[in-house]
């Protein structure tokens, strides 16, 4: 099993190299073959649970289409070596429809929490995650800042 620091580095690499720098080819290296994820639906009618690397690549591509300049920040991270919990922020220009929200053209910031379960080899076996403020951030007329 990876050490907590090794496990955290896997997830830092996910948010940096894979999701921000868009090196989706690394998914085959970093994710287990039986990878499963549970994440908010990106469109009405699609269920929240998906399996497999290819399904995840499609999800990453959908994000990238909606937010061409997508970038992620790891704000805080804890791990026991098996599970990695990440307090993260996602930002980018909302350029195409996403999760039922019409494009706003705004530079949007969405915060969230991401959980990853690693296998004995340090590969990502399962992830589950949620956003905090996606409805507010992507609304046509967003609420005030505070």
């Amino acid at each position: 099993m990876p050490t907590p620091e090794e496990a955290k580095n896997v997830i830092r690499r996910l948010f940096g190299e894979v999701l921000t720098d868009n090196h989706v080819e690394l998914i085959d290296e970093m994710y287990a073959e039986d990878y499963e994820f549970d994440a908010p639906a990106l469109a009405s009618g699609s269920g929240p649970v998906k399996t497999g690397r290819e399904a995840f690549k499609a999800r990453v591509a959908a994000f990238r289409t909606a937010f061409p300049d997508a970038h992620y920040t790891v704000q805080d991270i804890v791990s026991d070596g098996r599970i990695v919990c990440t307090r993260m922020e996602f930002g980018g220009t909302h350029a195409a429809p996403f999760a039922g929200f019409a494009p706003t053209g705004r530079d949007s910031k969405v915060t969230g929490i991401h959980y990853a379960l690693l296998n004995e080899q340090g590969k990502i076996k399962k992830t589950w995650a949620g956003f905090t403020n996606i409805a507010e951030a992507l609304a046509p007329n967003p609420p005030a800042e505070s």
Partner: protein
């Protein structure tokens, strides 16, 4: 505070604040007065607001609408002054919640919490995210099926 003390604070919050619905009895012990809450439904663009009252209202509003709600801690990891836990729950929707009238349905859901502690071991920053089917969507679905006109 030590990791063990921060773990104990989280467990106390879940046991007393959520399962026993006695958040008022432990607010000053577990929560900094200027606590920042980030959660779905907080009506700001960043989804965050600060202060004792907003945190209490978020907890009380939930446990009041689901008076038999019971939560578990599926996983809990604390390092230093940061901790995170996975919180599956079930409860009966007995009062209006998030604009949805009571359905009297037993609902199941889950939240991820990420907490940062101050030097006195109190919640300083609290972020909450739902995963799976969001609670409000589940309640609306129950209504939409015509079970609860």
């Amino acid at each position: 505070m030590s990791v063990e003390q921060n773990i104990a604070t989280i467990k106390k919050f879940v046991a007393v604040g959520l399962n026993e619905k006695k958040i008022d009895s432990i607010m000053s012990e577990i929560c900094a007065p200027d606590v920042v809450l980030e959660a779905p439904g907080v009506p700001t663009a960043a989804g965050q607001a600060s202060g004792f009252a907003i945190f209490r209202e978020a907890v009380f509003g939930w446990t009041d609408a689901f008076p038999d709600v019971q939560v578990d801690i599926a996983s809990l990891i604390v390092e230093g002054n940061s901790g995170s836990f996975d919180l599956p729950y079930s409860g009966t929707h007995a009062k209006e919640f998030a604009g949805v009238p009571p359905t009297n349905e037993k609902v199941h859901g889950a939240e991820l919490w990420f907490v940062q502690f101050d030097d006195e071991g109190r919640f300083k920053n609290v972020r909450i995210c739902e995963y799976g089917t969001p609670l409000r969507a589940a309640l609306i679905a129950a209504q939409a099926h015509g079970v609860h006109p």
